[in-house]
Symmetry: C2
Subunit: 425 residues, 2 copies
């Protein structure tokens, strides 16, 4: 809050009055905008409209496997759909399972199975230990935290920096406490900070020697190919390190096409060691007869293969980049010296740290003036950000014009909240 | 086994030799047929091929609600999709939730939520009671039993007759034991017997006064509109009775279009009281951001509404009826006096009771000669049919010609197994 801290009370009162006036003026415009969720824009959806024509009443046989995709069968998914995710996971296609339309649902299912049945090779289910613990790098993804909370696990926040989670703390907890059963990771363009785990962090995660014999790393690579800058980040392969350290069974990998094609109508994937995958398939068979193969075939035909998918992502980048640039330029212009934020090269979010104790108020002011943000605190377990600083900005959905209005209002509200705080209003 | 019981040993030896010779002759043909699962035939799939053209790159806006079905949102499902199941459940559309491609998965999810969180209004989760019990009408659906087994519940078999489960026993257990938390029901064209619960049985189920305050009826109406005879069975509305008895919260209803359109690419539905549905939506929101609305829109456009769906089912009936008639005619001709079976008017199965102790052997003989049946015992909890009598026949998938071969072989094997048994071979 240095910018305001250097002012006299009189000067700050004047600034506050100015901000308050601006706020009332914007509020009078009656905005109605939403920057709360990582939702693709209409223009992005249009990029994948061809997916809707990729399987018709004349061509429902998978060209490679000659499977009639309209009937039951093929629980693990069509081979070419599994190949689509093989380079992302750094795993052979037969160690990839294609799920339904939601990788979140797959993660939920994997947690449930660990609790009810235990993980592969474990002597007993997670559920038999009473209170178990899950590491939650913060700020993080609210829907991950909701899953761990649903299943009654204790969530331990792990501070993140620009290289990923604090690995000294992770090692200490994982290697010292057998009640620690898992960790959530969004390793590339992390939700919400947009940082990518460093090579050193990925290596140390793969090298973990857990005290528990049933610890699992939930590697949610949601933004694996989602760079919007020409030179994106490089994420090291956790499976390559795991092979080196003999820890392949510790890693569960997840990805989806939710932000490649259509959110809610994409395909999700799970990957892991042969043992993990075989074990999971045996348990998935109790839950469903199979996932939607017609939609898998649509994706194979529309995206072709991994390279085709990467090409497709460049079209998204062209639409997303200007939105992020607008947000980052505005933040730089308006909040330098008052707040801190990340400058991601991909993903769906910018995380802004407003002055301590000002996040809730900033979000409330935005709402009052017609702009909905992700709730303050949502990026922390139990919705509780101890410093009340972190706010997640999701720039993709509004039009550029709307986004400009929304982010200017956001900056105004952050400044107003900070001034109020300094003045004790 | 009366037909064989009346023969002298000498006569029976002669019959046995004849059957054995026939069996070897069929075996030499090298058949390779599958009557194991309730799978629609290719011709049935063709009836719904239009579904694949129902949403294209030019028309992805839901006409009624003006929702762009390509993006996130609308967790409970499109309104017209909910309306599709409203008459089936005898519930208003806002008490219907559209899920993914599998009603089995929805049932699994509902059981999981009851175990982890408890049902609506309950003081504690099912999981907190230690060993809990689930009533399983037998013969029944193997995948139901697999779910209860996955979650470690004790399964109590309840004998079925042509009116449904033995209600005296159900009432005694449900009203006397607070560890009894649920019952599986396939109330219409039951899997595998094909019978439909009588009005009296439906009424008594709705009138249950469970000892547990968190008992639930899993009403899996999988074959709700699946008659193949012109005059099908009538199933009474459990919700109508539940409203009369004030037990609406006890009933969870399930259905899907898996055997209306495409298995694996249909839409599934859950219905229940307002309280149950609101509660479930709040928990489903932790598991997924939403289900596949594009596929919901395809179904709305292709099937139009409930009446359109009923019309569509007549086309299935025209394809299925001859298959069932062939099976039933062959059973009548070959096994009268030796085995017993049901004569369903709809659904996907015929359940045959061969002589006691002969089911496993019959299935093994069929397999030896190239015809795969559902495993003997699969229609009972833990795969164990105490009398080793019940075999499920699934006539829909093979062509008529293949089905003729398969069912004749089945009869031959049943007779051979019975003769072996009588002769102590």
């Amino acid at each position: 809050m240095s910018a305001y801290a250097e002012m006299s009370r009189e000067e700050l009162e004047k600034v506050y009055e100015g901000l308050r006036g601006e706020f009332e003026a914007v509020k009078a415009q009656g905005l109605n905008l939403d920057m709360s969720r990582g939702k693709p824009s209409m223009e992005q959806l249009d990029l994948s409209s061809g997916l809707l024509d990729a399987v018709s009443s004349r061509d429902y046989i998978d060209e490679e496997e000659q499977v009639d995709v309209r009937n039951y069968g093929v629980l693990a998914g069509l081979h070419r759909a599994r190949e689509l995710f093989s380079p992302i996971f750094d795993l052979p296609a037969d160690q990839v399972v294609i799920g339904g339309n939601s990788s979140l649902n797959l993660m939920y299912d994997m947690v449930e199975k660990a609790i009810v049945h235990g993980v592969y090779g474990a002597s007993r289910p997670w559920g038999s230990y009473g209170k178990i613990k899950f590491l939650c790098p913060v700020p993080g993804y609210d829907r991950h935290f909701a899953i761990t909370q649903h299943f009654g696990m204790e969530m331990i926040p792990i501070p993140m920096d620009q290289n990923g989670p604090d690995m000294d703390l992770v090692e200490q907890l994982v290697e010292g406490d057998h009640f620690v059963k898992g960790i959530w990771c969004v390793p590339k363009y992390s939700n919400p900070t947009g940082i990518t785990y460093s090579d050193e962090v990925v290596r140390r995660i793969a090298a973990l020697k857990p005290k528990a014999d049933d610890f699992r790393i939930f590697w949610d690579n949601a933004y694996c190919i989602h760079e919007f800058e020409e030179e994106g980040d490089t994420l090291s392969s956790i499976m390559a390190y795991a092979r080196e350290y003999g820890t392949e069974d510790l890693v569960y990998l997840f990805a989806s096409t939710s932000k490649v094609t259509f959110p809610g109508s994409g395909i999700a994937a799970f990957g892991g060691s042969k043992s993990n995958v075989d074990y999971m398939l045996s348990l998935l068979g109790t839950q469903t007869i199979g996932y939607d193969k017609i939609n898998q075939l649509r994706h194979i035909r529309f995206l072709r293969d991994y390279d085709g998918m990467r090409e497709h992502m460049k079209k998204h980048a062209a639409l997303i980049a200007p939105r992020f640039h607008l947000v980052l330029d505005t933040l730089r212009r308006e909040l330098t010296g008052l707040a801190e934020w990340t400058e991601p090269k991909g993903g769906y979010f910018v995380a802004v740290d407003v002055p301590e104790g000002c996040a809730k108020r900033t979000v409330a002011l935005c709402k009052e003036a017609g702009v909905v943000l992700t709730g303050a605190g949502a990026t922390y377990p139990y919705g509780s950000d101890p410093a009340d600083r972190n706010i997640r900005i999701a720039p993709t959905y509004p039009t550029l014009e709307e986004l400009g209005q929304a982010i200017r209002l956001f900056c105004l509200c952050a400044k107003l909240a900070a001034a109020e705080k300094m003045l004790g209003k």
